[in-house]
């Protein structure tokens, strides 16, 4: 293999390795923009991964698997919504509980599916002439359909948040729910909506692992990617584009480590698997320090909204 093709293959692998995190980060971003902190991402991803896998095995179609993963992700997130929005429970505690719950549930549900092959996985497809563009084609346009969908999702979400009226309201309920309430927006329903939508995206992130990235089910197969996604949202300053960069960064280091092993560089495996986590956080922290170090989360993030509170 020439050096060039190695670099291209690493970069292409960066995209696929980053995609599950990207989905989860976008989901968490949407949730946090609405003022709800969901630390259950890891759990939701796992539930999404296992239900997607089970559904794909049962129906023979990865598309049904994807739908099941979204439904399961949305359902688990809805638990969080009920606890934190309706019952005004502490969001940190509820989120942590959700992760524990999701980990346990996915392990239990997936027990008999370990080692089973998936009848149909998301396979890489080329996008005609786009895939033939030198360098860019092989890096960006020889992936599966979920990767392509994420290419569309990032600008769509950025556009939604910054340029549309519903996006403005989304930001408003995350910044100052009382203000949105006084103008007659249904703060509680909207928050539920975004928590569920965010959970569905996390579910897709999980399904990407079990149906595309490594088509199989392994207990705890997310391996902390949900946590990285949560951290990423903060480092990305709640911006979809920055979340994209962060995700691919993680994917890149992940892929690099894998390739180093293939090339026979002797570095302990544990060190290699630690690298992407460490590197992502390091780089993003530096990036943030450069941008003035000011992290301004949505004003009402983590705070339950109570209309009668003074």
């Amino acid at each position: 293999m020439s050096e060039q093709s190695i670099i291209i293959s690493i970069l292409a692998a960066a995209v696929t390795a980053g995609t599950p995190i990207l989905y989860a980060a976008l989901g968490e971003l949407l949730t946090e923009r609405a003022g709800i902190l969901n630390l259950g991402v890891e759990g939701i991803m796992l539930v999404g991964a296992v239900s997607g896998f089970i559904a794909a095995v049962a129906t023979g179609s990865c598309w049904w698997g994807l739908l099941a993963a979204m439904a399961a992700g949305g359902a688990v997130a809805f638990i969080h919504g009920v606890l934190t929005i309706t019952l005004r429970a502490n969001q940190t505690v509820s989120g942590l509980a959700l992760t524990l719950f999701g980990t346990g549930l996915s392990g239990y549900l997936g027990k008999s599916y370990i080692g089973m092959p998936v009848p149909q996985a998301f396979k890489a497809t080329t996008l005609g002439p786009l895939s033939d563009i030198p360098y860019i084609g092989p890096i960006l346009f020889r992936h599966d359909v979920l990767v392509y969908a994420s290419y569309l999702l990032v600008p769509a979400m950025a556009f939604f948040i910054y340029r549309t009226r519903p996006g403005l309201i989304l930001r408003a309920i995350g910044e100052n729910p009382a203000a949105a309430d006084a103008l007659g927006f249904k703060v509680f329903s909207l928050r539920h909506l975004y928590v569920i939508a965010g959970g569905m995206l996390c579910g897709v992130g999980g399904a990407y692992l079990s149906l595309a990235y490594a088509p199989s089910w392994l207990e705890n197969m997310t391996a902390g990617r949900g946590w990285i996604a949560v951290a990423l949202v903060v480092f990305a300053l709640w911006d979809p584009w920055r979340a994209l960069i962060g995700s691919y960064l993680f994917g890149g280091v992940d892929a690099l480590g894998f390739n180093l092993q293939v090339l026979g560089v002797t570095v302990p495996t544990f060190f290699l698997s630690m690298m992407p986590y460490l590197f992502t956080i390091l780089v993003l922290t530096l990036l943030m320090a450069k941008s003035g170090g000011r992290v301004v989360p949505p004003g009402a993030l983590g705070l339950p909204y109570d209309r009668e509170d003074r």
Partner: protein, 512 residues
């Protein structure tokens, strides 16, 4: 005859334990400025929240231009042209002015088009003299500017009925005058304006008509030419309010507090107090007049031990207490009712009981060696609450739930219970209605009768003239005038407050 734009008939609104609106009728005409006058808790805000769709009424009908409407949310009310500017602004601070205004769009497009909005907002602002920058972030704006944003927001969405909840409470007199001008212009354009207030002078200055509420009922509707102070007060309070208290003449007592040539810095590191000297005797109320920000806070804090003096001495009963700790000052009998009641005076999340205990928990009657004596504490709290007529639902109620007047009563109860030698009160009647103000004033006069020295810092000259025995004017950190109240003349005090009539007033500004 003009037809009313809004007619409300038989409005009922019940909150747990209170009937806030009891069969209220009200008409609002286009082009009028309509004052809704009443004491705190008389149901003014509730009624307007119902009209603006925030609260659902328990009974009654609202008609807009003769057509009965039911508002399920403020959006419905806004769609009918009814907009309300709340006392606590409902703005999203990190958003730009334009974004805040876009938020409440009724038939707004899916997409945000900021360019057109910016132009429209600027045009509206010009028309009514409401200068705002559409692209500025709201958090950068002053309180007055935020209020303008709220008003423009309502106008932008075509409000023909604009409701303002105590609009002047947060404004400087200059800003208030500006806003009054704007409101008149809008009324001249056919807008109906309702403003909620408990200040009679605002009614005189602005209102074409006034509806007075008391205890959730309408007690009277008067036109501009029928206005009469005695009548209004009677409608509002249900009894006569004294305009002048009987001032007991106290024999000259010993000096309690002596401040000599105190110099202190403010939070910005600038001179807050400059060579300020004053003496207060037993049984005397010393009133400090002045425009806020001329050293009032620094003076109060220096005396209560919360701020250090850089130079000068403070003596209490001839003992040097300069730069003592607050706990020492409390132990020596200095009580303090600060300007910021919920921030400095009380702990909002703690209960009535705990707040009452804050200053006395170390006293042997309430605490043993290790534990607090909860029975004694409860008894005392119950006694204080009863004695000072603080309206609480229970002693365990968090104090943030109390109304402004009762908060102040609670605070005074705690401070007076310490049997202070010196009481420092800052803006004691700010935000209180006529009845509550009178109650607070009575408490201060009672204190005086018990030979306590009182330092009354106020921005309300009438209050000072009513209560104080001696008056001093604070300007730019100095006491620029001091006279017995009999010789005090409002006009002269006003001039001193504004900084004229003092030699060196100008020069000081440069010295800093």
């Amino acid at each position: 005859m003009l037809k009313p734009i809004i007619t409300m008939r038989g409005m009922y609104k019940r909150f747990p334990g209170v009937l806030a609106n009891d069969n209220i009728d009200m008409d609002i005409y286009p082009g009028e400025i309509h004052a809704l006058l009443g004491e705190n808790g008389s149901g003014k805000s509730t009624l307007m929240c119902v009209l603006s769709g925030l609260y659902k009424p328990d009974g009654g009908t609202i008609c807009v231009e003769g057509e009965e409407k039911r508002f399920r949310s403020p959006r419905d009310a806004i769609a009918c042209g009814i907009g309300m500017v709340h006392q606590h602004f409902k703005l999203v601070e990190p958003f730009s002015v334009a974004e805040n205004i876009a938020m409440s769009g009724q038939h707004g497009s899916f997409m945000l088009s900021t360019e057109k909005m910016t132009a429209d907002i600027a045009e509206l602002g010009d028309k009514y003299g409401l200068a705002i920058k559409p692209e500025a972030s709201v958090w950068q704006l002053s309180v007055g500017e935020k209020q303008r944003v709220e008003i423009v927001r309502m106008l932008y969405h075509g409000s023909r009925v604009l409701i303002l909840d105590e609009p002047t409470a947060v404004l400087t007199p200059q800003e208030a005058a500006e806003m009054f001008k704007t409101l008149r212009k809008m009324a001249a354009d056919g807008c109906a304006i309702v403003f909620i207030t408990h200040k009679l002078n605002e009614v005189y200055e602005l209102a074409d008509r006034v509806t007075v509420l008391r205890g959730g009922r309408v007690t009277g509707v008067l036109g501009r030419n029928e206005l009469d102070t005695k009548k209004l007060v009677w409608m509002m309070v249900g009894r006569d309010v004294v305009s002048q208290y009987e001032r007991g003449v106290m024999p000259e007592g010993r000096p309690v507090l002596e401040v000599q040539k105190a110099v202190a810095f403010n939070d910005m590191g600038m001179y807050g107090l400059k060579d300020l000297s004053l003496t207060i005797n037993e049984g005397e109320i010393f009133g400090i007049a002045g425009v806020a920000g001329n050293g009032q806070r620094e003076l109060a804090e220096v005396i209560t031990g919360l701020r250090r003096v850089a130079d000068g001495t403070i003596r209490l009963y001839d003992e040097d207490v300069t730069n003592s700790r607050p706990a020492d000052m409390i132990a020596r009998g200095v009580s303090y009712v600060p300007e910021d009641r919920l921030g400095v005076g009380l702990v909002p999340e703690l209960s009535v009981l705990e707040n009452l205990l804050l200053k006395s928990y170390q006293q042997p009657e309430f605490s043993g060696r290790w534990l607090l004596d909860s029975k004694a504490i409860k008894e005392r709290a119950a006694k204080l609450v009863k004695e000072y007529k603080v309206k609480v639902s229970s002693l365990d109620q968090p104090v943030k739930m109390l109304s402004g007047g009762h908060l102040q009563r609670l605070l005074l109860a705690r401070e007076i219970a310490e049997k202070p030698k010196l009481m420092v009160v800052v803006y004691p009647a700010r935000g209180l209605d006529v009845g509550a103000t009178e109650a607070v004033h009575r408490l201060l006069l009672d204190l005086k009768a018990e030979k306590t020295a009182v330092l009354l810092i106020s921005e309300d000259l009438d209050e000072i003239m009513k209560l104080a025995d001696r008056v001093g004017v604070l300007y730019n950190g100095r006491l620029v005038g001091e006279f017995p109240v009999e010789e005090a003349d409002i006009e002269r005090i006003g001039l001193l407050m504004a900084g004229s009539g003092t030699e060196g007033g100008e020069a000081d500004a440069y010295q800093i």
